[in-house]
């Protein structure tokens, strides 16, 4: 059944074309159902391929199947095919991408109800799903890049979907510019790999002899630049908090569950070329991002902003895992995170929907009574992300912390940073749950919150179920229960093995659970029972994300956004005047050379003459050498 692979991306593409042609005629809710059925069909096709793959022998290396469509790009000695690679890694990614994606499609039917661009929204969603599947299934770097650009484009479209809002249009632009930095890293890495190994096909790369240490590290770091752009790591994370301007299902699907994890996927896919030096860098950046973003999340008031910083922080965990060599742990966390973060985002969407587009948590409170399903599922997501056993997040986070502990150079330090992050995560998520669902009612009397429709609550319940039991795919209790690890094993060059004894493992797990409980307790004491004064817990410094965005704005004249209103006041002259992100720096340079374009022929003639003299001088100089 592995041969059905072409069907997996074909169905969302078909959905896209259908909606393009007849979407506006079908309207609401028909076009939503077309898209949802396309996504669901794609999930079923993925399941079929998965079953087919399981039928093959894992140890004999049979579980790697290439499906070549046609030869795409012959450039010199380079041959690039348009083809898919089905192996344990890509199928694992595809299963949750299509699975979670289908649920979010379904949810969106309810969420986007009444939007004038209803069918266009689903058109983008299907296009996104198609691009994401190209990214995951591509059998070489160029096809992956195609998907990489595709998901990027859809992400900008969807962020600025409500582009009547100035802030949304600006956020879309910011995502575009920041991501181009990452794309640049991807392109150079691709060409560098090709010039070093003579191929860009994954199976050939992983069978190639190692590159020289310097080249290998350079390539690894370039790939990390690409991954850091897409997966919002320091210092390229700035676009992700702003991306929350998009509709909430988009935040759940694109900016939490799927697209932002493609950086993790890329690095895991390329694990054979990553060098130890580069891994150390990745681990440090990952840990720093995890801690930094968790600190920022502590002081946010916008219900989605908390989740956005939380996503950045959790992505930091994944990179910490990669940097520690624990690729399975990274993928494990990608999956569990997809479950609980999609759940949390969709839950927050349900709240926003029920509260009539209110996003400030200070104006919520005591919603559990009026929105019981949303509240219940949200609490499941909260326990999962806070690392409370036996919810899914506990198992994957625990494995990452163990891997960090065992990291060769600075293991205990990385572990400690991860632990503090875990404490903060438990704290800010508890704060959110309390502010939204418990405590006293802070909304006006004329607001009438209500529970959402079944198309929205069904995905919530299913995702909540996954967030409870998702950890079961890789339980460390008995060796045979490490299903994911055994399944993914053929992918890795140097399979990672934990060396710590059982006692250490248990001790670390207990410490991380205790840290989580401390975080939860602080939140309860301060926000529910008000025993701890809360005003000091939200320093302005953190609320403004440590002024990183503002600093960028100062250094390169970047964009501030309305979401960072304080920052805007902080330096309104720079922020208001600029629209172009990094462009400002380039503009400065351009204005410097602008006078050469004077409009006078005599100046142009002088330009030509100077150029001619320069060329003659250069050639003559070449002769002298």
């Amino acid at each position: 059944m592995v041969e059905l692979i072409w069907l997996v991306p074909a169905l969302p593409l078909l959905g896209f074309f259908l909606l393009l042609l007849i979407g506006h005629k079908v309207g609401e809710p028909g076009s939503g159902w077309i898209a949802t059925i396309a996504a669901g069909g794609s999930f079923l096709a993925t399941l079929a391929v998965f079953v087919g793959l399981l039928g093959r022998d894992g140890h004999a290396g049979d579980r790697s199947y290439e499906f070549i469509l046609f030869e795409w790009l012959p450039a010199g000695s380079l041959k690039v095919e348009a083809g898919f690679l089905v192996d344990p890694l890509s199928i694992t990614m595809a299963l949750f991408v299509t699975g979670v994606g289908s649920l979010i499609h379904l949810y969106s039917i309810g969420y986007m109800h009444g939007d004038p661009k209803f069918s266009k929204f689903f058109l983008y969603l299907n296009l996104f799903l198609f691009s994401m599947l190209m990214l995951v299934f591509g059998n070489n770097l160029v096809v992956t890049f195609l998907g990489w650009e595709g998901v990027g484009a859809c992400s900008y479209f969807l962020i600025s979907f409500w582009h009547q809002r100035e802030s949304a249009a600006r956020a879309g632009k910011k995502a575009f510019v920041t991501n181009r930095v990452g794309d640049w890293g991807f392109m150079i890495a691709t060409f560098a790999i090709w010039s070093a190994l003579g191929t860009v096909t994954y199976t050939e790369i992983s069978n190639s002899p190692a590159m020289s240490a310097a080249t290998g590290t350079a390539v690894s770091l370039l790939l990390f630049v690409a991954a850091a752009g897409k997966s919002a790591q320091l210092p390229l994370y700035v676009w992700l908090p702003d991306a929350m301007e998009g509709p909430t299902p988009v935040s759940a699907m694109v900016h939490a569950a799927t697209m932002v994890t493609s950086g993790v996927y890329l690095l895991v896919r390329m694990n054979s070329v990553l060098t130890d030096d580069a891994l150390l860098v990745i681990a440090v950046v990952g840990a720093a991002t995890a801690l930094f973003a968790a600190l920022c999340a502590v002081a946010q008031h916008d219900i989605k902003k908390v989740l956005a910083y939380s996503t950045v922080s959790q992505l930091g965990y994944m990179f910490l895992a990669i940097g520690s060599g624990a690729y399975v742990a990274a993928i494990f966390h990608v999956i569990t995170h997809a479950f609980f973060k999609a759940l949390l985002f969709l839950g927050s969407g349900s709240v926003i929907h029920g509260m009539h587009d209110e996003q400030d948590m200070r104006k919520m409170g005591a919603l559990r009574a009026v929105m019981p399903i949303t509240a219940g599922t949200f609490i499941v997501g909260w326990l999962a992300i806070a690392g409370v056993p036996p919810f899914a997040g506990f198992w994957s986070k625990d494995e990452i912390l163990l891997a960090a502990w065992e990291q060769k150079n600075i293991g205990p330090l990385l572990w400690f940073v991860g632990l503090v992050t875990a404490l903060l995560t438990a704290y800010y998520m508890s704060r959110q749950v309390i502010l939204v669902f418990f405590g006293k009612q802070n909304w006006e009397e004329d607001v009438h919150p209500h529970e959402s429709s079944w198309t929205m609550t069904t995905p919530l319940c299913l995702l909540a179920g996954a967030a409870v039991v998702g950890g079961a795919i890789n339980l460390p209790l008995v060796k045979d229960w490490l299903v994911l690890e055994h399944f993914l094993e053929p992918i890795f060059h140097h399979p990672h093995h934990f060396s710590s004894g059982t006692a250490t493992k248990i001790a670390l797990a207990v410490i991380s659970v205790v840290a989580g409980l401390i975080g939860i307790s602080i939140a309860i004491l301060s926000w529910l029972t008000r025993r701890i004064p809360t005003d000091r817990l939200e320093p302005e410094f953190l609320e403004n994300a440590m002024y990183v965005d503002a600093t960028y704005a100062r250094v390169v004249g970047g964009t501030g956004t309305s979401a960072f209103q304080k920052t805007a006041d902080f330096d309104s002259s720079v922020v208001d005047g600029s629209v172009n992100g990094l462009g400002r720096l380039i503009m400065k340079f351009g204005q410097l050379i602008q006078p050469t374009q004077s409009g006078y022929m005599r100046n142009y003639a002088i330009g030509i003459a100077v150029g001619a003299l320069a060329i003659i001088a250069l050639l003559a100089w070449g002769l002298l050498l």
Partner: protein, 496 residues
């Protein structure tokens, strides 16, 4: 008894068949002029457009015939090796004819709207096209120069023909004076080449340079430098690009398209034939200079583009940066690089013609502020999508021909181990993408209730835009045929 012997002049053998494409074009130009002089009432816009299209088509068929000859018998040259017939010349002939047909279609609606005289315009366009073909096929520097002048003089007049607009006249004068200035460099370069190698024929120059080791290379180096200056002007490479934004802005839009695509392509044809083919043995000398030009051109083109507020000036600087990419390919001085350059020029020509088709149809040629495009996505969704595709293709977004073109260029740079230049081209691609995005955003991001523009749209323009967009996407998905065509079109110098 001594007798007076008459020594008859024996001219070189002429392969008329090989000259037929240009002859057809010139014949059509004469026919258009004759009809307009003798039967003015007959010389309608329709008549001239159809004549030009027929000429282009016939010429195209002949070019295909020549192509099968070259495939069967190999490249050849005629008129004492002055005129080459190889894959390279046919590649450019095909490209120029496509450009000719496109420009004729675009001018169809344009000339009527702007009240310009069709017969003169078409006659000049046909002559200009013939000149471009000569330039791309010439194996002799003098013949190449003649082609270049024929190409340019046609353009000077076509720009100035828009007599009601003083900007058009200003453009024409600027282009003419600066063009003459740069022609002087080129001519001087030709003279010095003759001094250094004893010939103006590229076949002779090539074999001479292969056989001789110079003790003193200064003369040859100066010749190369001056040739490079002259041709860099034609392709609008920095720092010889200053004219481009001013002239592009002032010229009638179809002429701007013609200049940005075909004049540039012909300039690169000459550049490749001279430097890659004839000066091949001295690539260590010229390649670094071309590389430096490429870097400057890329940076200036992309940076200046985002400063502009006028669409035509934006596209002018973007065409400067495109010249930079082709120079990157030329710089690699390899067959891979040359076919990458050819592929780039072919795809770029279609993109830029399509873009200027839209620009020209958007309204009168006074100025083209970005704000004119606000809301086009709502009022004319099909046109907006077409323009978006063409712009994204210029930015090098995957699934368009622009991506494949940039990919090949950078691959050529990597293959010749010019990592710095490859890096610069990728960075400028990032900067450039921003400018294209600005136009796209302008079309789609509008306030609620604001009405977009509703330009009057001639059907010939739609045909051109549709063809350009279709080509751009098809080549983006299945580029194989064009890649092979470009690979077979690497210039070959053979004695005829």
């Amino acid at each position: 008894m001594g007798s007076l012997q008459l020594v008859g002049f024996v001219g070189p053998s002429v392969n008329w068949w090989a000259l037929l494409p240009q002859i057809i074009l010139l014949g059509a130009a004469l026919a258009v002029l004759l009809v307009s002089a003798l039967a003015p009432q007959r010389a309608s816009t329709v008549f001239t457009t159809v004549t030009t299209l027929c000429a282009a088509l016939t010429s195209f068929v002949v070019a295909l015939g020549l192509w099968s000859d070259v495939k069967a018998d190999g490249p050849s040259s005629s008129i004492a090796s002055a005129f080459g017939v190889d894959g390279f010349s046919i590649f450019f002939t095909v490209l120029i004819l496509i450009g000719l047909a496109t420009t004729a279609l675009l001018s169809h609606g344009y000339l009527d709207r702007e009240e310009m005289d069709p017969p003169e315009f078409h006659a000049l366009l046909l002559c200009s096209a013939a000149g471009a073909i000569v330039m791309a096929s010439a194996n002799d520097l003098i013949v190449m120069f003649l082609g270049l002048e024929a190409l340019s003089i046609g353009i000077y007049v076509m720009i100035a023909m828009h007599h009601r607009r003083s900007e058009a006249r200003e453009s024409a004068i600027k282009y003419f004076v600066l063009g003459a200035f740069s022609s002087a460099f080129l001519l001087y370069g030709i003279a010095l080449t003759y001094g250094a190698t004893g010939s103006t024929n590229l076949v002779h120059i090539r074999s001479y340079l292969d056989a001789v080791v110079f003790q003193d290379q200064h003369l040859l180096m100066a010749a190369m430098a001056l040739l490079l200056v002259g041709l860099s002007f034609k392709v609008a490479a920095a720092p010889f690009h200053f004219w481009a934004p001013d002239v592009y802005q002032g010229a009638p839009s179809p002429v701007t398209g013609w200049m940005a695509s075909i004049a540039k392509a012909a300039g690169f044809a000459a550049l490749l034939r001279i430097f890659f083919a004839a000066f091949a043995s001295h690539d260590v000398d010229w390649a670094p200079i071309v590389g430096a030009l490429a870097v400057i051109t890329l940076v200036i083109g992309s940076v200046m583009a985002i400063l502009q507020t006028d669409i035509k000036r934006m596209l002018a600087f973007s065409s400067v940066s495109h010249a930079g990419y082709v120079l990157v390919a030329v710089h690699s001085a390899s067959a891979t690089g040359t076919s990458a350059a050819l592929f780039y020029l072919f795809t770029y020509t279609l993109m830029v013609l399509g873009s200027f088709a839209i620009v020209g149809a958007m309204g009168p040629d006074d100025e083209h502020p970005l704000s004119r495009y606000t809301g086009l996505g709502r009022s004319r969704p099909v046109i907006a999508i077409g323009f978006t595709v063409l712009l994204l293709a210029q930015a090098g977004i995957p699934t368009t021909s622009g991506f494949i073109a940039k990919f090949q260029v950078i691959a050529a740079a990597v293959e010749s181990e010019s990592y710095f230049i490859a890096g610069v081209s990728m960075v400028t691609a990032v900067i450039g993408a921003f400018m294209y995005l600005r136009i796209v955003m302008a079309m789609y991001v509008v306030d609620e209730g604001e009405e977009g523009p509703r330009p009057i749209w001639h059907w010939t323009t739609s045909v051109v835009v549709l063809a350009a967009v279709g080509f751009t996407i098809i080549v983006g998905l299945v580029p194989q045929f064009l890649i092979e065509f470009a690979r077979d079109a690497v210039p070959v110098l053979v004695r005829g």
